[in-house]
Amino acid sequence: MTALSRHLRRGLLLLMLAGPAALADENLRYPATPGGDAASALVIHGALDLHQVRPLLDAFHRDHPQFALHYRNLTTLALHERFLKAPAEADVLISSAMPWQYRLANDGHAQPLQTPAARRWPAWARWRKELFAVTFEPIVMVVNETVIERFGEVRSHADLLALLERQDESLRGRVVTYDPAISGAGYTYAIEESRLSPRYWELVAALGEAEAALAGTTGEMLEGLIEGRYLVGYNLLGSYARERLADQPQLKIVVPEDYALVTQRLALMPRLAPHPEAARRFLDYLIGETGQGVLARDTMLGAIHPSLEGPGTAAALRRQRGEALRPITLGPGLLATLDDLKREALLSRWRREFTRRQRR
């Protein structure tokens, strides 16, 4: 590999990892209860905002006060880089950058979790016993009530395509979506969608024709939608949208009826984890009924555990959307996402499609 291409890869990584949780370095610490036997430290590196992770850590620490818990909130990029530099620093890694987490596990950096909970964990939500999907977050559209009033309900990708193909002036420049070139998440979704349906490229062309705005993060898109700059948002992270739009009745969150991507945060225990016993306890808790219950109740992240029902769970979402839900497959296909040439190929196609009908 030449220095040039290495540099290139590095740059791409930076761009791609600039995910929605790209915030500053933050920490949460819980001291161990003095006198507790088997006291141990537990270091968790996660790409999860503190307010989302806090309920979970609170609950875990209540049940296991013997662990001196240290949660470090990192961006998905920082988390990955930091791990490669110091593979024996963290006991648990939680990140939404699925291809990167998958690659770590594929390369043998993770150790398996052999517990009853791990064995019961649904096969689609884990890889071997090393990589566990712990959340269930649909990718959604957000539609302003005014659009619905004017053009009717937008329930699916087909509805969105039809809406865009009206070529109505009122929508020009007021649709927003991820720029796959600068957002890792957007790129991942683009790859997945392009594999799901060839009509995706028509949608990209329609978006281009509507002069859709391109954003780097879900937060950015939500901001524009709340402010009213955008009327339609496409491919937003559902968990963030629900959180932010709770007090925005004019913005409707749509989980598409034809197909809806579902992203998941992946947790793994590094092979060189300094406190493997503590790591096992935490991961087991995270995929256990209790931990998943906390996720369902106190966060918007969505719980996977099959015995959990009700709002905030995968089961509830499945009942609502059924077969349309398309969780991103935890498999070697994710490795293709990380292929440099693949990325270049996809982005050039994307750009080509996006600009195809813009010549006018």
Binding site: D107, I191, P332, L334, A336, K342
Partner: protein, 465 residues
């Protein structure tokens, strides 16, 4: 019977051992075969994946270009969730893209065209199966060679190999179980005649000596015939014994009857002179009867084949002298001159002293009874021998062997029991000595000699009969 020394156990061990070795070899072979089969099956995945990737390789912007199909990678992962690695390498060995710098394969390709080489590799501590596809771009002008390397971990292969092997294992074990059952049955059947023979022998009346009538396979038939021969010998021995007992009781009854009759006759008479006459006759008869009883006892003991007393080194000179001391007075009183002739050097043989003394006693007694006047005990040196010579009437050569039979009496023998020489013969046989009857010195009289086997230290006498 010792536990370890059973015929069926021996057979079983010698048949089972090769069976076990064979079974182990089969299991080993089955394991390698299962692995080969699993590898063949899974190598198809490497082939398909590498082909799917190679088909997407193009020349673009003056370099190799790959639009990696995710499906190609997904092909490599089965239900066993293998770890998957790939790389695209150009003609100079530089990695164009991939998720791992997989090692190349140095083996020479069979042809310049599209080739695929499989092998097991270790990469960063993982043991992988790798396929390297060497091919080239098929464009009009450009025929750029390149390599697609794909690899995955072995979990799926191992699981399949294990499954195939276990299926084989079950079959081999079932076969082994069948073989062992067959073996046990075969051994039991083969040894059944032995059991029959044992039952036949055990259920016999211990007194019967009739031959065994039993149909048996050849090997055992030989054993049965040997046993029958032994039984036949025992029948002959027993017939002999029965005849002997009959003779003995007859021999004892006769003088007792005579005694009784003579006493009765004497009691009818009043003349003391007659009484005295009767008493003299009775005294002679009773002493002869007592002697007869004693000889019978000796003969019985000598005839017992189980009786094998220890032999000790003996001086023949001393035995001869002792015999003279013992019998001289009696001989002298009967007017017989008893003497001894010994060599100056002592002659030693291994023997039983009391038996030899008894033999000499019998011979001296015989000589005296049959009218000898001079009796000499002679000790010979080469070979060691004991002989009793007399100047009596002797025995014609033709009848000498008859003399050895119990109760055979020669001439007008009124006094003898006919047992003396039979006893001497028995003693001679116990000592492995030869008994010879011949003329005495000067061609008259009788010479009875016991010639002992030469007792040189190099050739100690065994327990020869």
């Amino acid at each position: 019977m010792k536990r370890g020394d059973s015929l069926s156990r021996r057979l079983l061990a010698w048949l089972l051992l090769p069976l076990l070795v064979l079974g182990s070899l089969m299991l080993l072979q089955a394991w390698f075969e299962a692995r080969r089969t699993a590898d063949r099956a899974f190598d198809r995945l490497l082939e398909a994946a590498s082909l799917a990737i190679a088909e997407q390789v193009q020349w673009q912007d003056d370099r190799l270009w790959l639009d990696l199909p995710p499906a190609a990678l997904e092909m490599l992962a089965t239900d066993a969730e293998e770890r998957v690695f790939y790389s695209l390498v150009d003609r100079r060995g530089r990695m164009i893209t991939g998720n791992a710098e997989l090692p190349g394969d140095d083996r020479e390709a069979l042809s310049d065209d599209d080739t695929l080489l499989y092998r097991d590799v270790a990469w960063q501590g993982l043991s992988l199966r790798q396929g390297v596809r060497r091919t080239r771009l098929e464009e009009w002008q450009l025929r750029e060679p390149f390599e697609v390397r794909v690899a995955h971990s072995r979990e799926g292969r191992d699981a399949l190999a294990g499954e195939l092997w276990r299926a084989n294992l079950a079959m081999i074990l079932a076969m082994a179980a069948l073989a062992i059952v067959a073996l046990l049955l075969a051994i039991r059947t083969a040894l059944a005649p032995l059991t029959r023979l044992r039952r036949a022998i055990r259920s016999r009346d211990p007194r019967t000596l009739a031959p065994l009538e039993l149909r048996l396979p050849r090997e055992l038939a030989e054993l049965r015939d040997t046993v029958n021969e032994l039984l036949a010998r025992m029948r002959r021995v027993r017939a002999n014994q029965e005849r002997f007992i009959g003779d003995a009781s007859h021999q004892l009854r006769t003088p007792l009857a005579g005694l009784s009759a003579r006493a009765e006759l004497a009691l009818r008479q009043e003349d003391p002179a007659r009484w005295r006459e009767a008493l003299v006759a009775m005294q002679a008869t009773s002493s002869r009867t007592a002697r007869l009883a004693m000889q019978l006892l000796s003969l019985t003991r000598l005839a017992n084949p189980e009786y094998r007393p220890e032999r000790a080194p003996l001086s023949l000179n001393a035995i001869a002298r002792e015999a003279v001391r013992e019998h001289w007075t009696a001989c002298h009183r009967a007017g017989v001159d008893l003497g001894v002739a010994t060599p100056s050097a002592d002659v030693e043989i291994p023997g039983i002293d009391w038996q030899l003394a008894e033999a000499l006693g019998n011979l001296i007694d015989n000589a005296r009874r049959y009218g000898a006047r001079h009796v000499t005990i002679r000790v010979g040196e080469q070979p060691p021998s004991l002989a009793v010579e007399d100047d009596g009437p002797g025995i014609p050569a033709a009848r000498r062997t008859l003399m050895l039979r119990p109760f055979h009496r020669d001439r007008d023998d009124l006094e003898g029991s006919g047992l003396g020489l039979a006893i001497v013969d028995g003693i001679a046989r116990t000592h492995g000595a030869r008994l010879t009857l011949s003329e005495g010195p000067d061609d008259h009289g009788l010479r009875v000699a016991l010639s002992f086997p030469d007792a040189s230290p190099m050739n100690p006498p065994g327990d020869a009969p």
